[in-house]
């Protein structure tokens, strides 16, 4: 059986390992446009301030010592499902019996003047991180455009190198996908106490440059911030352009069934380039989560190996991190104005907890500070557990835990 996998990150390698384990007869070709070895993408911020070296962020198990697997450092530029073949940028082609698309997502580049100036970077892969680390030599002021999770993680790493750092976020608060207004306020305060400058409700309108070298950012509010290094962290978009003529159904991202098969037979997709069905909000959305990529990659791997498997319920909001020294775990619905839901909040010192219920179902939660036992409750959300009479006791259990 000939397998072709496009992409070289977590969704791709998870599927690869499942296929290797289940199909002794597999001949697998992997096409990845980033050089080997594979690495943990979420750890690249730690390269910026040298708190991790490259070796420390590489996959602990590289799938390379298997003669059934052949790697191409190349880019897939198109899929022809009729001929069961993909085209590569180098001019060659690969034929497949089963194809996995796991090309992830790329940085969205804001459409403003000056983005091509020197000193302006997007930052989503290891190469870019190493370039930014170089550029940091002698840098005094840095601006991060985009205050979502990846932007704030980069900002914290840059801050640790000693530069003066400003974050610009066009929404009303930073961390829009993992926090509500109250938690974002608490985390912003922490970051500001630590010397970071945050401009929310404001957006970058122009990158100012002298002789092609960036010197600052002009904001919608009219303010200008001087900077010798600017990171564009204004979100990501799924890598689906190369599928334009393939006939594969795409909405905001690739559409699949619960076996991870696309609208075209024998073509599967997994990871950030797939539109998921969010188990809580009930809508099809794009998610950019590591765990979702693992689940999708594993499910695709089994089905491609001929073992039927369905992807478990997924959420587009399912995050855990630590920011400004404050842990935060959040899942499901984080904010609502609708009276259809019951919302409970509790604050105790630096700790804050919020629960959102739809009747007797927990549909959203935020734990800030004390995150102990969070998984017990995120699993109630993910699996849409009906709590019945136990609901009130659960609220008491979660909130009172802040007091002992």
């Amino acid at each position: 059986m000939r397998y072709v996998i496009v992409g070289g990150s977590i969704a791709a390698t998870t599927a690869l390992n499942v296929i290797r384990a289940n199909r002794p007869d597999a001949e697998i070709q992997v096409v990845a446009d980033e050089a080997m070895p594979f690495y943990y993408r979420a750890l690249i911020p730690f390269l910026l301030d040298n708190s991790r070296i490259v070796d420390d962020i590489l996959f602990t198990e590289q799938p390379t010592n298997d003669e059934r697997v052949h790697f191409h450092h190349d880019q897939c530029i198109g899929v022809d499902p009729g001929k069961k073949m993909i085209g590569l940028a180098s001019g060659t082609t690969c034929s497949y019996d089963k194809l996995l698309l796991a090309a992830g997502s790329s940085s969205r580049i804001p459409d403003i003047p000056g983005v091509a100036s020197q000193g302006v970077f997007t930052l989503r892969n290891m190469d870019e991180a190493l370039k930014v680390r170089e550029a940091l030599q002698g840098c005094r002021n840095a601006v991060v455009i985009g205050g979502a999770l990846a932007g704030v993680k980069m900002a914290e790493a840059l801050k640790r190198t000693g530069v003066h750092l400003t974050v610009v976020e066009q929404r009303s608060h930073i961390l829009p996908f993992i926090a509500d207004t109250e938690t974002a306020r608490r985390m912003s305060n922490k970051l500001c106490e630590q010397g970071m400058e945050i401009h929310s409700n404001d957006s970058a309108k122009e990158i100012l440059a002298t002789d092609g070298q960036a010197t600052g950012v002009r904001l919608a509010s009219g303010k200008t911030i001087s900077a010798d290094l600017i990171l564009l962290m204004a979100g990501v978009r799924p890598n689906v352009e190369f599928l334009a003529d393939s006939g594969i159904d795409i909405d905001q991202a690739v559409l699949t069934d619960r076996e991870m098969q696309t609208s075209v037979v024998d073509v599967y997709a997994a990871g950030d380039m797939v539109q998921i069905h969010d188990a809580v909000i009930g809508k099809d959305v794009v998610s950019a989560l590591w765990g979702n990529a693992v689940h999708m990659g594993r499910t695709a791997g089994f089905n491609m190996s001929g073992i039927k498997a369905l992807v478990p319920p997924l959420l587009s909001s399912f995050n855990s991190t630590e920011i400004g020294g404050l842990p935060i775990i959040s899942a499901g619905l984080l904010h609502t104005d609708s009276s259809h839901y019951a919302v409970y909040t509790e604050a105790q010192g630096e700790n804050y907890r919020k629960l959102i219920f739809d009747q007797d179902r927990l549909v959203g939660m935020i734990f800030l500070g004390d995150v102990s036992r969070a998984g017990v409750y995120t699993n109630l959300i993910r699996n849409r557990i009906s709590l019945g009479e136990r609901k009130d006791a659960l609220v008491r259990e979660i909130m009172s835990a802040l007091y002992y």
Binding site: I57, G291, N319, I329, G375, V376
Partner: protein
């Protein structure tokens, strides 16, 4: 594979298992004298990795089940959580960067945050001991080692569901 089997009705709530767990996980340089005193007099006393909690019929120890499709492995973004050769779910200390995704993922709430060391802490099934410390310490044998592979499938399923209390 041997797993820890919990019989909730035998638990007295004495927390000997928690104490034995802390002692067994005292810092390496104290290894030659693993006693309660040595454990608690460490600069940072070791965290317990199992928890005696109020269950439906009284106190019961809650412990890592070394899940088959372990959610903590799925969500760990650094490769820190892995399955060892014996099949137990472990955490590589030096890889962990304190993102707490494993705490977000574990449905049993048995991964804890070591805030000072900034790493996640979980049951490692005491790889250096013949019998895990909690099992060895339990005075009523509410915690026992059971070899799941030697059991008939039906019994095994039942056990895996009940395991951990």
């Amino acid at each position: 594979m041997e797993v820890i089997y919990v019989q909730a009705d035998k638990c007295l709530g004495c927390k000997t298992c928690e104490i034995e767990c802390r002692i067994a996980h005292a810092e390496e340089n104290h290894a030659e004298k693993k006693t309660l005193l040595a454990a608690i007099s460490q600069v940072r006393p070791p965290k317990r990795r199992l928890f005696v909690e109020q269950g439906e019929i009284g106190k019961t120890p809650v412990i890592c089940r070394h899940c088959e499709e372990a959610p903590c492995i799925v969500d760990c973004i650094s490769g820190s959580i892995y399955r060892d050769e014996q099949g137990f779910v472990r955490r590589k200390k030096e890889r962990c960067m304190g993102c707490w995704s494993c705490i977000m993922a574990c449905p049993f709430g048995v991964v804890v945050r070591d805030a000072e060391a900034h790493i996640a802490v979980k049951c490692d099934h005491c790889p250096d001991l013949e019998t895990p410390a909690c099992v060895a310490g339990c005075p009523t044998r509410a915690l026992q080692l059971v070899d799941v592979d030697s059991l008939p499938l039906e019994r095994r399923k039942e056990l895996l569901l009940k395991k951990g209390g």
